[in-house]
Amino acid sequence: MSSTDPCKTLLTARQVKVHLKVGDRIIRAVDGVDLDVRAGECVGILGESGSGKSTFGRAITRLLPNVALAHLSGEVTFDGHDVARMPEAALRSLRRRGGFSMVFQDPLSHLNPTRRIVAQMDEALRSIGDRDKLLAREADLLAQVGLSDIERVLRAYPHELSGGMRQRVLLAMALAAEPRLLVADEPTTALDATVQMQVIETLRRLNREQQVALLIITHNFGLVAELCDRVYVMTGGKFVEDADVFALFESPRHPYTASLIAAGRRLLQPGART
């Protein structure tokens, strides 16, 4: 299968531009970005708030709300399919099976507060008709993301779970479609440090054991350093640097990257208070 071939490029983005209309000004949120993700690879997009990284992530997965869009252009191909110009139905089948899934920062607002987890997972697995098979698959998915006490999780309402558990439930739902690429937009930002490590561990296992390619969008250096093979640094809607993760931390070429790293280091040193 193509997903096990490590050299094959899974996702390519060329000259992606997203301009947003804010009042009567036009904001160039994403301004000509190129990106490649190979099968089974883990790629990070690192940038500060407002650098356009989330908008870019939504643009390549075609999840942009088209309300304030002033301009959208560029080429996006996923496994040979032209994602940018694909009809909605084909896009849905790609999301439903073997394509790409997305996980967001705030897991709570993506779960319906009035329905049990099991009912919401059923929706992601509608193709399985048999009730027993369905439950077995749900339990299997929850186990894959490292949740124990699966019976309780399935019967719970979202507010009865902790933030980390909710994020992993969403991960499990994203995995229901057996994606080859998982786009994770700030997957750990809303979580506390110990739970962050659990989610990072889960993502790493998915990447290693099931060869799911990861595209991690974050402002968190630790997350990138823990997980990613390659990093793109984004600021002002453009990629300013693209490097191997070790090379980036050792010797950043772009001054913006250097200042980002320096700022991160200062935050870590307790003596650096002024």
Binding site: L63, R92, R95, F104, Q105, D106, L108, S109, H110, L111, N112, P113, T114, R115, E123, A124, R126, Y157, P158, H159, T189, A190
Partner: protein
């Protein structure tokens, strides 16, 4: 980033009943409404005489035998008021329910589908709101006659826009929530999204509005009765007011007692709505708790 966890609405509903009992307005409202329902339900057992029995001489002032006096024919007023609770509460509850069904459907369609559907449906709702309620109902009753079910329908027709606006507002906000977007992206049916994803989340303020609608319906039906537009075969508070009109200077009790009962009932439903609102709205509850502490 911290997000407040929303409880499941059914859980919220149960805790709301407890929450209603926590505020003094909720307690008072609940007590009044339950008392009125009990009076209506137990009318044949607790009323001193039947609704159409001649219990004594006409136009007797309040006495030990007739605590609220008798009317111009000789009916016992206490019995008439107790039996009248049946019709008045029925009009209030059924009209509120029908208004909820009509207004809820229209508000939900407008709020979920948006675009031209929203434009047309909400303009229709606004049109109904700009027409004076009493005139609309007067017209319907005058043309079609004063039958009990027709009155309920007419009152519901007058108050459904209130319900439509609340449901519409809820649907507009909730349609943009990420879990609804996710359900749309997953290609779930519109019926599923509206009934299972959005509606349960929209209910709390809608339930408050239903309680307010009930009080409004009782008030409107009493007003119609006063004007002579009530089903003469069903005893109701409005009808008692109508009969008392001609005896205002000689038999004040014929107007005052039914009027007081209407006031108390309407107040009860309003207090209940207040209590529900505070129970559903955590910020309001917090303020009350601080004030009481």
């Amino acid at each position: 980033m911290t997000t407040r966890a929303l409880p499941h609405p059914l859980v919220a509903l149960l805790s709301a009943v407890r929450g209603v009992a926590r505020t003094w307005s909720g307690r008072a409202g609940l007590a009044i409404v339950l008392l009125m329902v009990a009076l209506a339900a137990a009318a044949p057992w607790i009323a001193p005489s039947g609704p159409l029995d001649l219990a004594g001489a006409a136009l007797q002032p309040p006495s030990y035998l007739h605590p609220l006096g008798t009317d111009n024919v000789g009916h016992d007023l206490l019995s008439a008021v107790i039996y009248g609770a049946r019709a008045s509460l029925a009009i209030g509850c059924f009209a509120a329910l029908i208004a909820f069904l009509i207004g809820g459907t229209i508000g939900a369609l407008a709020g979920y589908l948006r675009g031209p559907v929203e434009l047309v449906l909400m303009r229709i709702a606004e049109l109904f709101q700009t027409l004076p309620v009493i005139i609309v109902v007067l017209f319907i009753v005058a043309v079609l006659g004063a039958r009990f079910w027709l009155l309920i329908g007419a009152v519901a027709l007058a108050i459904w826009p209130l319900e439509a606006r609340i449901v519409y507002g809820q649907f507009v906000t909730l349609s943009d929530r990420p879990f609804v977007t996710a359900a749309r992206a997953a290609d779930l049916s519109t019926a599923h999204i509206v009934l299972r994803e959005i509606l349960p989340n929209a209910l709390p303020p809608v339930i408050v509005q239903v309680a307010l609608d009930a009080s409004l319906a009782i008030l409107i039906s009493a007003g119609l009765g006063f004007l002579g537009l009530s089903d003469p075969s069903v005893p109701s508070w409005g009808e008692l007011l109508n009969r008392g009109q001609s005896y205002l200077d000689s038999a004040w009790w014929m107007s005052v007692f039914p009027g007081v009962v209407i006031c108390i009932t309407v107040l009860g439903f309003n207090l209940l709505a207040d209590g529900l609102n505070e129970a559903f709205n955590p910020r309001a509850t917090a303020t009350t708790a601080r004030l009481q502490a």
